[in-house]
């Protein structure tokens, strides 16, 4: 018998016998398609929507949680979750402004503060990472605890009062523009490109997916599973630190009680809407970017259409449910 024919026949058999799907199906592009539909509807529903200022505004709004969502993508793909990011952001924000006010005026102080924010964020991530890997505490529980701890420390350090930066140039970071786009948006897109390279095109990214998909297989493939999980939390911590800089420099202050409130929800939602499986093992950075933008547009449209802000949480919750349901349906 001809080998080629035999091979072809077998191929189609396995293919269909197990409801196989090739890698690139409509399902994988669902987030993008949803985004396009959303943009079209929004443009039809409100003439303000497509105005450049509105678009820029949406992107800026999205970038704070979007930056965190990039890091969150790594954590979730590796099979973890982090609920402490909002509190972590507040804590880093307060500490950075204290440091800034201690260092004095000028760009040098700002640069040092930004470096410190990334380092502090990395430390908060390292704490979460150590609790889950060394401490063997489920990430959901560990980060629920650190969420409470970080928020409480923020309030204690700041004495629950708003921390205002005395640095005269700090606010230029968060309010600045480059080529008509706000700086936070550039950072979001830049980190997204970097994150995509890391996840898709490096051994580290491949290992993150392997660990999330099946930790035992990963360890039997000479991958240091604990180190990978730890690293994903550190990466997330760094994005939290950078987001803290963007947010606090935009407002030139941090209010310890509500800075970063519910950011964990938005970040996780962006990741899930972007098609990353909450079971870990697979996901994409570009999906997360789209997920964040989708959330931003929905918020924006609700505002433009004059829907009560109190109802926005309901809509967001429904969108998350739909995204998760679609995911399960695809996995069946």
């Amino acid at each position: 018998m001809s080998d080629a024919i035999k091979k072809g026949a077998l191929a189609t058999r396995f293919f269909s016998g197990s409801n196989a799907k090739p890698k690139f199906t409509i399902g994988n592009y669902a987030p993008l398609i949803a985004l396009i539909i959303l943009v079209v509807i929004s443009a039809l529903a409100s003439e303000h929507f497509l105005m450049p200022r509105n678009i820029t505004n949406v992107l800026r709004q999205v970038s704070y949680t979007g930056i965190i969502a990039l890091g969150m993508t790594f954590v979730i793909i590796a099979g973890g979750i982090d609920l402490s990011v909002g509190s972590g952001l507040a804590l880093v924000g307060v500490l950075v402004i204290m440091l800034l006010n201690y260092l004095g005026d000028g760009w040098l102080a700002v640069s040092v503060a930004i470096g410190a924010a990334a380092a502090l964020g990395a430390m908060s991530g390292a704490i979460n990472g150590a609790l889950t890997t060394k401490g063997k505490i489920a990430p959901f529980v560990a980060t629920l605890a650190t969420m409470s701890i970080f928020r409480s420390l923020t309030l204690y350090i700041s004495d629950a009062g708003e921390m205002v930066s005395q640095n005269s140039v700090y606010s230029k970071v968060g309010t600045g523009y480059f080529l008509d786009l706000p700086v936070p948006v550039w950072l979001f897109l830049g980190l997204a490109a970097l994150g995509h390279m890391l996840l898709r095109h490096t051994a580290f990214g491949r290992h993150v997916c392997a660990v999330g998909s099946n930790p035992k297989v990963a360890s039997y493939s000479a991958i240091n599973v604990q180190r990978i999980i730890f690293s994903t939390f550190v990466i997330l911590g760094v994005t939290v630190g950078l987001s803290a800089v963007m947010l606090s420099s935009r407002l030139n202050s941090v209010s310890p009680g509500d800075a970063g409130m519910f950011y964990e929800l938005d970040a996780i939602a962006a990741v899930v809407i972007g098609g990353t499986s909450l079971n870990g093992g697979k996901g994409t950075i570009w999906g997360t970017v789209i997920g964040a933008v989708i959330l931003g547009i929905i918020n924006n449209m609700l505002n433009l259409m004059g829907v009560s802000p109190y109802l926005q949480g309901t809509v967001k919750g429904l969108v998350i449910l739909i995204a998760v349901l679609m995911q399960y349906k695809r996995e069946r």
Binding site: K7, F14, F15, S16, S18, T202, R206, A218, Y220
Partner: protein
């Protein structure tokens, strides 16, 4: 025909099944009798599972009809099947570990008195059932504390509590020890005597020959033979399954060299392994026999740095080494294919290149991974091992067991090993792939590779190995070489009855 006295229970009439336009079952006609043990044979992908999934209501048929007791029936869901008395014992057990035996057996069909659970009645019925099955199992034992064989027993009891008339068993013996297999066979005989029909899928021809009354052989979605077992030799079965003469499943053994590739001495893990010493030469196949749980896998995992060992020296090509992590073992040229292909071997949602390059990824990346190179390498393995996959980008979950095993082999070959350790390399793999794997092992030893094969299939060790180490309860029980390697010797040693004329250091 001797079967004439048994009435027909289940009639398959022109059963067809296609998935999105591709036909996988081409009109199967068969009559299955009451109280017979029907063996179902076929290579991976021949359509056995599809057929049985139709009978048990998991798939719906595309065309054709099913008749039970001469009446046409529709089996649209597993619930329908259950009502008609059809039960399937899956390969992967569906038991809840944190519940006890009787709770599992009545899961979803709890007996109640008023609105409360009638535990006493459930316990009693479970007790009666287990007695009927002649097991010592306690209805109150937690499932998580049970052995694999005991869990299987619970699955069988679970099927019987609903008065199953047709019991489908999908490769039930792969997870059992020889002793447990005997218990299972005795049980099957008992059920048969009570008029239960057993559909028995297996890859082990010897087993089928011993157990079954008749045999259904499928190939490429067609029924090629339905005959009394007595009329078929094992050779006939294999030939019918594969569709051509299968000559020489085991290749000629090559001559080992004198140089030791690996020497292990005094390897111990407290309360698990005791003073294990062995060596393997270049170009040699060293077999490891023993019952499940005798410490063979533990020995290899300790050697590879996957398990912490308490003492022991290892020399690789004469050089003393310390292996604490798997990465070190890989760098020394050791490779280990776990017995648990899906649980520890392959990432099922990765495609071929991603799986094959997972350990050796460093070679393909300078900062960034060279995807083209990993694909090219994977393509080479696909040709070398004739791996059948829809495409390179197919996720591993869509490959058959045999092809998965070949990808797993490729993954480790890509680390460029000098010493290859294979733990149950042909478990759940069809005859053709088995043959491929045996011939591949032979060609590797020809090139000077040292190979260790752990296997529970004795003919495999007899056919492949130059020497066989037999383990029992964490100790080396003896070593056999050349003509000494036969089933009886291995069994004696594995059971701890061996003539202890040999020093095991």
């Amino acid at each position: 025909m001797t079967s004439a006295q048994r009435p027909t229970l289940l009639r398959l009439e022109n059963i067809r099944k296609s998935f999105s336009g591709v036909t996988v079952l081409h009109g199967i006609n068969a009559e299955i009798e009451q109280g017979e043990v029907l063996g179902i044979l076929g290579e991976n992908g021949a359509g056995k599972s599809t057929l049985l999934k139709i009978v048990s209501g998991i798939y719906s048929l595309s065309d054709g009809a099913l008749h039970i007791d001469g009446e046409p029936v529709t089996i649209g869901s597993p619930g329908d099947a259950k009502r008609l008395g059809i039960a399937m014992i899956p390969q992967e057990f569906n038991l809840i570990a944190s519940l006890n035996v009787f709770e599992n057996i009545f899961l979803g069909h709890e007996l109640k008195r008023g609105s409360l659970l009638d535990k006493a009645a459930m316990r009693q019925r479970t007790h009666d059932l287990l007695q009927l099955l002649e097991t010592e199992l306690d209805p109150d034992s937690l499932v998580e504390d049970l052995s694999v064989a005991e869990k299987q027993m619970v699955e069988i009891a679970k099927a019987l509590v609903h008065d199953a008339r047709i019991l489908i068993m999908d490769e039930p013996t792969t997870v059992l020890t020889k002793k447990e297999v005997e218990v299972l066979f005795a049980l099957i005989a008992k059920l048969k005597a009570q008029g239960v029909t057993i559909l028995f899928i297996s890859h082990k021809l010897k087993e089928v020959k011993q157990l079954c009354d008749r045999l259904m052989i499928l190939r490429d979605g067609q029924l090629v033979s339905m005959d009394e077992v007595a009329h078929l030799s094992e050779h006939d079965m294999a030939t019918k399954m594969v569709g051509r003469e299968l000559n020489q499943i085991f290749p000629e053994r090559s001559q080992p060299l004198d140089e030791w590739a690996l020497e292990v001495s005094g390897l111990s893990i407290r309360s698990q392994l005791h003073d294990i010493s062995f060596g393997v030469r270049k170009g040699e196949v060293l077999g490891f026999a023993g019952l499940v749980g005798s410490g063979r896998t533990e020995t290899m995992e300790a050697l590879m740095g996957l398990r912490r060992s308490d003492s022991g020296q290892v020399k690789v090509f004469g050089k003393p080494v310390k292996i604490r992590k798997l990465r070190q073992a890989v760098e020394l040229g050791l490779a280990y294919l776990s017995e648990d292909r899906q649980g520890a071997g392959l990432v099922m949602n990765f495609d071929l290149p991603e799986n094959i390059s997972l350990i050796s990824l460093k070679r393909y990346s300078r900062g960034l991974i060279n995807h083209q190179q990993t694909r090219k390498q994977a393509q080479d393995y696909v040709q070398r091992f004739s791996i059948k996959a829809p495409s390179l980008s197919s996720e591993l979950q869509y490959l058959s067991g045999g092809n998965q095993q070949k990808v797993y082999l490729s993954k480790w070959m890509d680390t460029d090993p000098k010493i290859l350790i294979l733990d149950e390399p042909t478990r759940g793999v069809d005859v053709n792939t088995k043959k491929d794997i045996y011939h591949f092992i032979q060609s590797l030893t020809e090139q000077g590779m040292a190979v260790i094969v752990i296997s529970s299939e004795m003919e495999e060790l007899i056919g492949l190995a130059h020497r066989v180490m037999v383990m029992r309860e964490g100790r080396l029980q003896g070593e056999l070489s050349d003509e000494q390697i036969n089933e009886q010797q291995i069994m004696l040693l594995a059971a701890g009855l061996g003539p202890q004329q040999r020093e095991t250091a």
